[in-house]
């Protein structure tokens, strides 16, 4: 506890909160076990949730470039943790201890005249790079035309509306697809012109570029700064045009867009060439604007039914794959389709573009197969029932929302580099990123998530995009860290801002080391159980992508039990004696809900839904992630102001209104009595105005949540006995079920018809296992 920061901190909770607000970082452990062995005994790995572009209205970017450590293998950026010799104009790198000269511009430096990056409050700082020409943002719409008439109409309107939201100099392009894929030329006057591709034929990038007439000399160096678009005005001009030039044209074009004209016979699905359309979109941008900020926005209303990437055949009698089919290895097209989309996703990531998927259909649309496109490129994934819903319309609109500076909340082509002090290594990352395969001295052999590198590419990100980053303590037990030593980590995020500037955000943090044997209490007290729950959940979900569900659950359970064994206070073989300290007390409950969450349970969810939930879970920040794991339940009654209540069936009472937020759904549930009152129309009677207010209160609160969230949650307004009440009933802890209702003999609450174990049973088992010496 020697850290100077700590002394000023009242509690760890405040410390954690301050750190999150300033740096967008939450660590599972805020005091680090100082040896490898001890660290592994902590069960929950040393890891953090990093929100690289966390909105910082109070942090104006500096208009110069960062100063780098001169050691070629280090190149850490000058930060407040560096020791500075003002007289000699030297600074020591806190990662490799290299002593560096300040650059000439820093000659005036002194104790009283410090650059921002040396001030402690600038542990996170953003630099604006001055070099390189700016290239406009690119938005390439890829639009499914196999939609119902009103769906297509709604989509067309949304797209037309979006034109007015785009930055005026942004380039837009349009690809439509159905049985064929059409790339629309936007520059021509008179006859509207499009290039048509067969939806069944897989084309290489070269073929696509040849066929579109985009062939030009290969772009040198993948990592190179994008050349000015003026270099190839001809190729870019036909398919990608500045919005301000062609918005009228494009509005007309969208207006004239017809449903796919090819007849669909009875009992067939329309032939939908999503795979080829996406491939052409990727190829088009690859050929024209590599390494430039670009969004490919795929709008689809059904599963791909032909060509590469097809997910299901066009026979309606053959349903799209379910989890059951996948378990039985009966999903004919899944592997091949997944491979196709993975190939596209990887290419897109290499080009620094991102793919959004807006899938609106009542049935599945193949998100399972296509998920990698959004996951690997940092694109959005939106799932709805129809384009003609406010869910889609508002979500889509929100993509183009602006921040306090009037800039779009989107950034492109980011590279995240993590540097660690020598006691630590980087084990991996989980989030909307791909590995850049940079093997440095700080890369761990053991992988957690996407590992084997200390640099990742995040092609599209927004202020809430959050990565889980996992570390490994490598310091050997017999080489203790000197007293007062601190471990440091630097996160360097280079990205293209929506204003098209290149920027670098640098966050440097440090934490105290502690000897786990002598200072276990310190470590325990510095445990961030919320962050830990989310980080563990990310690991679990990451595993669930490749492993069988039950295995993941067993692994989670084992980790939980081990954690309890390590940090619980108990007498051996005496479950009743088991206690957890405050910093761990909520953790088992998170795990209980996580086990039941759609991220790990596929029962009752289609593969698409699972993919959708997991996609969002892997990119939201801590608060949202926690809501996803354990939904929030508010209760409204005449007895007092709205209050959060236990997510438990006992909270479902007849005279209450409940508001549940699961992140994906907002459920308003009227208790039995309330529902009857409403049915009787009391709310319309002047003498029962307070009832009217009671009914209104959760609606207003729900609206507030709806306004802030991306993607728009599904909004469910139901009551006791309503069919949609299942959304609530499936989430609450089944403390009362048909099995124990009478045994408990309580009169309140609602029984849940389930055989799932309740939290109480779960905890009982946990205690039993934790105190057991058998484990």
């Amino acid at each position: 506890m020697n850290g100077s920061v700590f002394r000023t901190m009242a509690t760890y909770l405040e410390f954690i909160q301050q750190n999150e607000e300033r740096d967008g970082v939450r660590f599972s452990w805020n005091v680090w076990p100082s040896s490898r062995l001890e660290a592994t005994r902590m069960v929950v790995p040393l890891a953090c949730l990093l929100t690289p572009l966390k909105e910082r209205p109070d942090l104006p970017p500096v208009q110069y470039e960062p100063v780098l450590c001169s050691r070629p293998t280090c190149k850490a950026i000058l930060n407040p943790l560096c020791q500075v010799d003002y007289r000699a104009k030297l600074w020591a790198c806190n990662f490799c201890f290299q002593r560096n000269q300040f650059p000439p511009a820093y000659t005036g430096i002194s104790e009283v005249n410090q650059p921002a990056e040396l001030m402690p409050q600038f542990s996170t700082i953003e630099y604006v790079l001055q070099r390189g020409a700016q290239s406009p943002l690119i938005f390439l719409y890829v639009v499914d035309t196999c939609l119902e008439e009103d769906d297509l109409q709604a989509l067309k309107e949304s797209l037309q509306m979006s034109l007015s939201l785009l930055p005026p100099d942004a380039l837009v392009g349009l690809i439509t697809f159905g049985r064929m894929v059409q790339v629309h030329e936007l520059s021509c006057e008179g006859i509207s012109k499009s290039y048509v591709f067969r939806g069944t034929k897989d084309l290489t990038a070269k073929q696509i570029q040849d066929m579109l007439g985009l062939t030009k000399p290969a772009v040198p160096m993948q990592q190179a700064r994008p050349g000015p678009p003026q270099e190839h005005p001809f190729v870019s001009s036909r398919f990608l045009q500045p919005v301000h030039k062609i918005d009228m044209n494009l509005t007309d074009l969208l207006g004239e867009l017809q449903r796919d004209p090819w007849p669909v016979t009875q009992g067939k699905r329309p032939l939908r060439s999503t795979g080829v359309a996406l491939s052409i979109a990727v190829g088009l941008l690859e050929g024209t604007f590599p390494n430039t900020g670009a969004r490919i926005m795929l709008f689809t209303g059904g599963p791909p039914t032909q060509g590469p990437g097809m997910v299901v055949g066009d026979e309606l009698k053959v349903p799209i794959r379910s989890w059951h089919d996948i378990e039985k290895d009966n999903a004919r097209f899944m592997k091949k389709a997944t491979k196709h989309y993975e190939m596209l996703a990887n290419r897109t990531a290499t080009n620094g573009h991102c793919i959004d998927i807006y899938a609106c259909a009542l049935d599945q649309t193949g998100l399972l197969e296509m998920k990698c496109c959004a996951n690997l490129t940092g694109g959005h994934m939106v799932m709805g029932d129809s384009f003609n819903t406010s869910l889609f319309k508002q979500t889509f609109q929100r993509i183009f929302s602006k921040d306090f500076n009037g800039d779009f909340r989107m950034a492109f082509g980011a590279t995240l580099e993590v540097k660690t002090s020598r006691e630590l290594k980087v084990a991996g990352a989980i989030g909307p990123c791909v590995s850049l395969n940079v093997k440095g001295p700080c890369v761990s052999e053991n992988e957690l998530g996407v590992g084997g590198t200390n640099q990742w590419k995040i092609c599209g990100l927004d202020p809430t995009s959050t990565l889980g980053i996992y570390f490994e303590v490598v310091n050997q037990h017999n080489a203790p860290v000197p007293q007062g030593g601190r471990g440091a980590i630097q996160f360097v995020t280079q990205y293209q801002h929506s204003s098209t500037q290149r920027r670098i955000r640098v966050t440097t943090i440090a934490r105290n080391w502690a000897d786990a044997q002598s200072q276990l209490r310190h470590i325990e007290a510095a445990f961030d159980q919320e962050a830990a729950a989310v980080l563990m959940a990310r690991l679990g979900v990451f595993r669930a992508e490749s492993e069988e569900g039950p295995d993941v659950l067993r692994w989670l359970d084992r980790q939980l039990i081990r954690l309890c064994q390590k940090f619980g206070q108990y007498n051996k073989e005496d479950p009743t004696s088991f206690r957890l300290s405050d910093s761990f007390s909520l953790y088992p409950q998170f795990m209980f809900h996580l086990r039941r969450s759609p991220f790990l349970q596929v029962f009752n969810n289609s593969p698409d839904e699972s993919s959708y939930y997991r996609h969002h879970f892997a990119r939201q920040d801590l608060t949202q992630s926690l809501i996803m794991i354990q939904p929030i339940l508010y209760s409204y009654s005449f007895h007092g102001p709205p209050e959060p209540v236990l997510l438990d069936s006992s909270s479902i009472l007849a005279d209450r209104i409940l508001l549940m937020d699961t992140f994906f759904q907002i459920v308003i549930y009227l208790g039995e009595t309330i529902a009857q009152w409403r049915k009787a129309g009391y709310q319309d009677m002047p003498e029962y105005e307070n009832f009217k207010h009671l009914l209104q209160a959760p609606l207003d609160d729900a609206q507030e949540i709806l306004q802030a969230r991306f993607p728009m949650p599904r909004y469910i307004n139901t009551e006791h006995g309503g069919s949609q009440a299942r959304f609530l009933l499936s989430k609450v802890n089944p403390s009362q079920t048909h099995n124990n209702l009478y045994a408990w003999g309580q009169e309140t609450g609602a029984p849940i018809l389930t055989d799932d174990v309740s939290l109480q049973v779960f905890m009982d088992h946990l205690k039993k296992l934790a105190v057991s010496s058998a484990c």
Partner: protein, 999 residues
């Protein structure tokens, strides 16, 4: 029958083809010698034709007419030499064994038969002629005719030579006695058994006087040159037929009657046999046995033009509709009800005339018979009383048992740089606006049911959406030429009337849209593929109009390279030039036919474009190939536009299958034309229009009865332009005879030439041209020799005796042999040869007649008051005069030849310029001058142009100016500049062959 052997090079024939035809033995055989000795022939030419003046040398020179007089008595008897009687069978055997006539079924025989084609020794056979010693030298020493069909290899004689080597006064030998050779019913006109008599003694021909060998010793003196006027004149034959039968009514009520010549105008009345406009035969009397057929070597063939245009004064085809019952057909052979069905048992049953099967009359069709066993409704039902009629087809006759959709026309325009530059694209687009108003329609309909679509292309394809509700057409570019597909369904094929404004908008924009294009490369196969796929997607048949101008060199299926190689000419590899470069087009054509996609190609080449490859699909899909070399807007647009208009408006049937059924004893074995065959009987045609003919060859498979005759029924199942499925039936009954004379007198030379041309042009793909020419010469000689041997009255062996019906066969045959397809000429490009080859393959008899023997009209003798055409003259330079103006037409080209001393008033009248020297030859249209000369000449030209499938390009030729060289190639009776013998020379050559055969 060229095909079977030739298509398989490994087969006996293929192996034997070049060499097998040629003797291995010591004595060079006729054809061989014929071909090879041309080079040294010039040293000896006179010796052949030395001899005293002909007996009838006094015959009028200028007019052959008197010698045609049927009854002109003549003391001259043309008995064959003593050897001939025994050699008839010998000759026949020889044919069998040697297969000079490769049309025979026994093409493989050279391997098994006596080794060697006709050589004198082998002719001697068992019954040695009395003067073997004479014959021997005759065949050995006698050189071939001076200007043999040697091609350029044989150095031609100076032009005057042929006048000196005198066939000594040949003349037309009247028949000895009418009764002697004439069968009953032999009409006087036909009886003229004209022979070309040669004074035997002086000629060094076998059977000549002893002492021949002595003559061989040195060049004999030229005693008399052969008078061209004394040899059979095509003009005379045409004029005679016109005089006797022109303007009359020709009723088709008699079996086996020989119709008037194609050049004769008359009114045809269907009385139970198909009009000759639909079917013409090489002979209207078939030999009873195959032996006899082999002996005569006369091809048995019919040239069928099922959709021939019928003049307005003749009755159009009746349409028979049996409702759901569909046509009545024989249960066994499936022949359709026709006048040849014999009703029996009171009308309850009928016997099929083709297979003799007795069928029950379907109840709905029952009718009582009258006292002569004819149905009471005989004259009410077209199918009982007419040779040609149509049935409404039931759903059984439709694809997938669904009524067809109306066909579609797709216009596909090459918009590469050169076409834009020379204004062609603009011209086409402008023209389409008017021509689309004239889409063909069913007579009763107000508007055409045909839908139209548009594609432009260079190395990629642009489809256009011209849906009527669009404000602007939409363009869809398909760049995947490797695997073309149709990018849109709705809006591609539209009704012209409904989408008129969008289409006009499009046609206005196309030239501008590509105005800045500098794309030079084009594709071709993908274009056809695209059109075919579009029709397939729309589930209809149709026609593609492709306007193309360059060798398709862009990377795509069907990509071609320039492989034109003059070095191949006159080698065994010359045939490669006629074969398509890749098999892509062949399989494409197959697909097109399978989907009823007809391809019509307008080519505008400025250099080699490989017509042999590009033209394959149009040919096999029943389309037409039009070619405009070095297209120049001001010169050639009129010709092109006329062709385009004509082609769009043409009567046409789509998605057709033709089946030719015959009565027992013979059957159709080979088919030539714009057709595709997947099996041996079904002739599939993506489309067939009014100008396309299919030539069908027949072979015996049993004896034919004189009583029953030979019956032919040609049924064409097709889709009309309105989208109706119909059956068009043509029936024809022919005689059968066991007398060779009957056979010979029923022949039609025009049809024979049509057949020979098609079979030879088909063989061009597989055989060296030299072999083909030899075969043609040999067969000609055989046909005539057989006649001489079996039918002609005895005469001197030296006499050339031609059957009346084949009088002009030699001259026509010579024209065929001289055609640039069979005989290359340096000024004719490979493309042009491939083009002409293709055209001939689908020609009807009238077109092939004109094509091979052009019409040459003197204009200076024009009677401006008369509307009749002036009498044609023979195609020979000697018929022209410096003071004259002549018009020559062959169906593709028209020449107006101006003699240096053309009458100024005529020049003034036609060209509106003061003199010959002022005439500007740089025009393709005559100026419209308001005087009788101009008007009459232009009227004549339009009459000649009428009914011809191709718009003829007019060239003005001034005597003694360079372009005259081209013109002179069309003077087909003269010796060709680059090889190709004159008529006289050829006649002599044939005569020599005949004489050899006879001995």
């Amino acid at each position: 029958m060229w095909a079977p052997g030739m298509m398989k090079p490994a087969g006996p024939l293929g192996a034997a083809a070049p060499g097998g035809m040629l003797p291995q033995g010591p004595s060079p055989p006729g054809p061989h010698q014929f071909g090879q000795s041309g080079a040294h022939a010039q040293g000896h030419p006179p010796q052949r034709f030395t001899g005293p003046p002909p007996v009838n040398s006094a015959a009028p020179v200028n007019s052959a007419a008197p010698s045609y007089a049927p009854y002109s008595p003549s003391a001259q008897s043309s008995y064959p030499s003593p050897a001939s009687t025994s050699s008839v069978t010998q000759l026949g055997n020889q044919f069998n064994a040697m297969h000079i006539n490769s049309y025979g079924s026994g093409m493989a025989a050279p391997v098994q038969g006596p080794p060697g084609p006709p050589s004198a020794p082998s002719f001697q056979g068992p019954s040695r002629p009395p003067q073997p010693s004479i014959m021997q030298p005759g065949s050995q020493v006698l050189p071939p005719p001076p200007t043999a069909l040697n091609g350029p290899g044989a150095s031609p004689l100076p032009p005057s030579t042929h006048r000196q080597d005198g066939l000594p006064g040949p003349q037309y030998q009247p028949p000895p006695l009418p009764g002697q050779t004439l069968g009953p019913g032999y009409s006087p006109q036909q009886a003229a058994n004209y022979g070309l008599q040669m004074a035997g003694g002086q000629l060094a021909y076998p059977g000549g006087f002893p002492g021949g060998p002595a003559q061989m010793a040195g060049p004999p003196q030229l005693q008399k040159k052969l008078d061209p006027d004394s040899i059979p004149s095509p003009i005379q034959v045409i004029e005679n037929d016109r005089a006797t039968r022109g303007g009359q009514i020709y009723a088709t009520n008699t079996r086996g009657q020989v119709p008037p010549l194609v050049t004769t105008d008359c009114v045809i009345q269907d009385q139970g046999n198909a009009s000759p406009r639909y079917i013409r035969c090489t002979t209207y009397c078939f030999p009873c046995t195959s032996d006899m057929a082999k002996q005569a070597q006369i091809p048995l063939a019919a040239i069928i033009k099922p959709f021939a245009t019928i003049p307005s004064n003749e009755t159009p085809l009746y349409l028979v509709n049996h409702g759901e019952n569909g046509p009545v057909r024989c249960n066994r052979c499936k022949a359709y009800m026709c006048p040849f069905m014999q009703f029996i048992e009171g009308g309850r049953r009928y016997q099929c005339g083709f297979c003799n099967c007795v069928n029950d009359v379907p109840p709905f069709y029952f009718q009582h018979l009258d006292h002569i066993g004819r149905r009471l409704d005989h004259y009410e039902k077209p199918e009982l009383s007419l040779g040609s009629y149509e049935y409404v087809a039931t759903l059984d006759y439709c694809r997938k048992n669904k009524p067809p959709n109306p066909p579609a026309f797709i216009f596909m325009i090459d918009v590469s740089y050169s076409n834009i530059k020379n204004g062609l694209v603009k011209l086409i687009c402008e023209e389409l606006k008017t021509v689309l108003e004239k889409l063909p329609k069913e007579e009763q309909e107000e508007t055409s049911a045909i839908r139209v679509g548009f594609i432009t292309y260079n190395k990629v394809l642009h489809f256009f959406n011209v849906k009527s509700n669009l404000a602007q057409p939409q363009m869809m570019v398909v760049t995947d030429v490797g695997e073309v597909f149709v990018p849109l369904l709705d809006g591609f094929l539209v009704n012209y009337q409904e989408s008129q404004s969008v289409i006009h908008n499009l046609l206005d924009q196309i030239p501008e849209m590509f105005a800045d294009s500098n794309e030079n490369e084009t594709v071709f196969a993908p274009v056809i593929q695209a059109g075919m796929e579009a029709l397939k997607a729309a589930d209809c048949a149709g026609k593609l109009f492709i306007f193309h101008s360059s060798l398709p060199t862009a990377e795509a299926p069907g990509k071609l390279r320039n492989r034109d190689d003059k070095k191949l000419i006159n080698t065994d590899k010359e045939k490669i030039l006629f074969q398509p470069q890749t098999n892509v087009y062949d399989s494409l054509a197959k697909d097109c036919v399978a989907h009823g996609c007809c391809v019509t190609l307008f080519l505008f080449p400025s250099q080699y474009v490989d017509v042999a490859s590009l033209g394959l699909v149009p040919q096999l899909t029943g389309g037409t190939l039009y070619k405009y070399n070095n297209f120049q807007m001001h010169m050639d647009s009129q010709q092109f536009l006329n062709d385009l208009r004509n082609d769009i408006e043409k009567k046409i049937g789509f998605d057709a299958i033709m089946r030719v059924r015959t009565s027992t004893g013979f059957r159709a074995t080979d088919f030539f034309g714009g057709i595709f065959m997947n099996n041996t009987t079904d002739v599939e045609m993506a489309a067939i229009d009014c100008d396309k003919a299919v030539t069908v060859e027949f072979k015996h498979d049993d004896k034919l009865g004189e009583d029953s005759g030979a019956l032919i029924q040609c049924a064409v199942l097709y889709t009309t332009i309105g989208g109706q499925r119909r059956l068009r039936i043509h029936n024809l009954s022919l005689n059968c005879s066991s007398q060779l004379a009957d056979l010979y007198k029923s022949c039609e030379t025009d049809a024979l030439i049509n057949f020979f041309a098609k079979s030879a042009f088909k063989a061009v793909l597989h055989q060296p041209l030299k072999v083909i020419r030899e075969i043609l010469v040999n067969q000609t000689a055989h046909m005539l020799a057989c006649y001489r041997k079996n039918c002609a009255s005895p005469s001197a062996a030296s006499q050339l005796i031609l059957p009346d019906s084949m009088k002009v066969l030699p001259v026509y045959m010579n024209c065929l042999l001289k055609n640039c397809v069979l005989l290359s000429r340096p000024e004719i490009s490979t493309d042009e040869r491939a083009y002409q080859r293709q055209l001939v393959m689908t020609m009807g008899v009238a077109d092939s007649q004109l094509f091979f023997y052009p019409q040459l009209l003197p204009i200076h003798t024009l009677d401006v008051k008369s509307t009749t055409l002036p009498a044609a003259i023979r195609c020979s330079e000697s018929r022209l005069s410096e003071e004259g103006i002549f018009l020559l037409a062959n169906g593709l080209n028209m020449f107006l030849w101006l003699g240096v001393s053309s009458p100024p008033e005529l020049v003034q009248g036609i060209f509106n310029v003061p003199s010959f020297a002022h005439v500007n030859t740089d025009m393709t249209l005559l100026p419209e001058v308001g005087n009788p000369y101009s008007q009459t000449l232009r009227m004549i030209m339009s009459i000649i142009q009428q009914k011809r499938p191709y718009s003829m390009k007019l060239t003005i030729v001034k005597q003694r100016e360079q372009p005259e060289m081209v013109f002179r190639q069309f003077l087909v009776e003269d010796k060709g500049l680059y090889g190709g013998s004159s008529y006289v020379d050829f006649l002599c050559c044939v005569h020599k062959e005949i004489c050899q055969l006879l001995n």
